[in-house]
Amino acid sequence: MMRILAISDKINLPRLVAAAKSLNPKELVVITSAEANVPADKLIIAKLGDGLNECWVKLVEEQLDGYDLTMMPSTRNFKEIAARIAARKEIPYLSEVLDVRLEEGIVVSRMIFSGRGIEVLKTQLPAILTLNLDPYEPLEGQPSSVEELEFNCSPQVKLLERREKEAEVDLTKAEVIVSVGRGLKKKEDLDIIRELASLLGAEVACTRPISADFKWLPEERHVGMTGVRVKPKVYLALGISGQIQHVVGFRDAETVVAVNIDPEAPISEVSDYMIVGDLYEVVPKLIEEIKRRKS
């Protein structure tokens, strides 16, 4: 029977607890940084000062003994924390886990090659995992007991500043997405894209060059491996070549419609409908057509 330690920030905790509970542990202990309403046997609220990774590492290192499995969300911070603890404790660590099974040790699956493949790995317990929590529904409930833990830590690194990204939009919830790539010639041309999107009640998204290199749209609108993974009913890809790092981001879209001037563009292989044409001709006609049908 398993003892699980789950460590998380506030946002990811309810889904991490769902993931931990799905393994039917004998005991589930949670460490987090703020009060939380999750069905754990024990909830430890750690007071960590600045909350730097270094301090999390020291705290968890002290708490970890006796657990079969330590689980964390696959965020950038926890991927660092988990890896450091695994190195200190010399126990196996597997990251970005999509699925975990108990079976003389554990068997996990994770994405590789930018989403072109899945690998299945097996290792012994005790182990540490960071999980991709997208598949889990948040679980709420009363913890059986709550404890506060004051933790003093003098980190080597110094925190200078934290800035939140102004989250303008959450593309993961969009039902329809109009996405543009480098087929768009200049920033002003986003106007017709926006017009189309608003007619469709869609969100505007883009490939990475549009946000990272040209800065025409904010980072949180870029779809793909290093951006957002979306699952709309319709993903309209305009002037997008279909490189794997982008494609992985819309894998879960129900229907993909692409407009590309190049009939051989790789996007044709990963879309349901590929319109061979110039977006500068097709989009205005599409706007006309939608307006006509709406009136």
Binding site: L52, N53, E54, R76, N77, K79, E80, A83, R84, A86, A87, E90, I91, Y93, L94, S95, E96, V107, M111, F113, S114, G115, R116, G117, E119, V120, T123, Q124, Q156, K158, L159, L160, E161, R162, K165, L199, L200, G201, A202, A212, K233, V234, I244, R251, V256, S268, E269, V270, D272, Y273, M274, I275, V276, G277, E281, V282, K285, L286, E288, E289
Partner: protein
């Protein structure tokens, strides 16, 4: 400033052929893992500004291709440390980190700064730099999208899901960089040819006495999403109508 840049050679994931639900991994060409290129570029830029040396450290965990190694050296590194051996092959960031930690100690490679990519293009575990930091007892900052090296410290900006974190870190330190940190240079053919003459230090894994938690690979499968793949050509107003039909069918308009 002496800098170590950790570089992994990987199969180019964008060019792996498919056969049914199998990926024909070994038929893909070899490349420098994308973000390791950014790490190496950053190392070379710091050297160009402040002087010093850049050592490329390469653990052969998968494919190896001499030309690609030369390409890395041609970007401006001074020498390469190559760690090889059958037992290094496969997914095990702990083992990779330990091999690097032990090999740079054994060969007396000095460093003020160790740079790595945030994660590799094949496995993307993002674990190795953090593990290496623990093994060398160094401070670490992961997912760094911009950085500025001072006399005895480095100021970094970490790019996180919800925002940014600016940290000051004493040197020596380990930093893993994201692709935003720079635009890697593309070496010329002449530079690549000349790079063949640069120093190469070879280390065999068997010399290093590695001991690490075991991870077993059960299988690899292609992740395929079935799409209709219909191609529509024709006059813009014709195709616009077709798109509108599809949108209507999906209940969008």
């Amino acid at each position: 400033m002496d800098i170590v840049a950790c570089v992994k050679l990987v199969y180019d994931e964008t060019q792996i052929p498919l056969s049914g639900d199998q990926l024909l991994i070994e038929e893909a060409p070899v490349k420098i893992s994308d973000m390791d290129k950014n790490a190496l570029e950053e190392a070379v830029r710091i050297k160009e500004e402040k002087g010093g040396t850049v050592t490329v450290v390469l653990v052969v965990t998968g494919p190896f291709d001499e030309t690609i190694l030369k390409e890395a050296l041609a970007m401006g590194a001074d020498r390469a440390l190559i760690i090889e051996g059958d037992e290094l092959v496969g997914h095990n960031p702990f083992r990779t980190a330990q091999a690097i930690a032990k090999a740079i100690k054994e060969k007396g490679i000095g460093y003020d700064l160790i740079l790595c990519g945030e994660g590799s293009s094949d496995q993307y575990s993002c674990a190795m730099p953090a593990m290496l930091a623990e093994m060398l007892s160094l401070p670490v900052a992961t997912f760094v999208g911009s950085m500025e090296v001072g006399e005895d410290n480095v100021i970094v900006e970490r790019y996180l899901e919800g925002g940014f974190e600016r940290l000051e870190i004493p040197l020596p330190a380990i930093i893993s960089v994201t692709s935003e940190v720079n635009e890697p240079r593309i070496p010329t053919v002449i530079q690549i040819m000349r790079a063949g003459k640069k120093e190469k230090i070879n280390v065999s894994a068997s010399e290093l006495n590695l001991s690490y938690p075991q991870v077993e690979l059960v299988e690899i499968k292609a992740l395929i999403k079935e799409r209709k793949r219909e191609k529509l050509e024709g006059d813009p107003s014709e195709v616009a109508k077709k798109i509108a039909d599809i949108l209507a069918e999906k209940g969008v308009i």
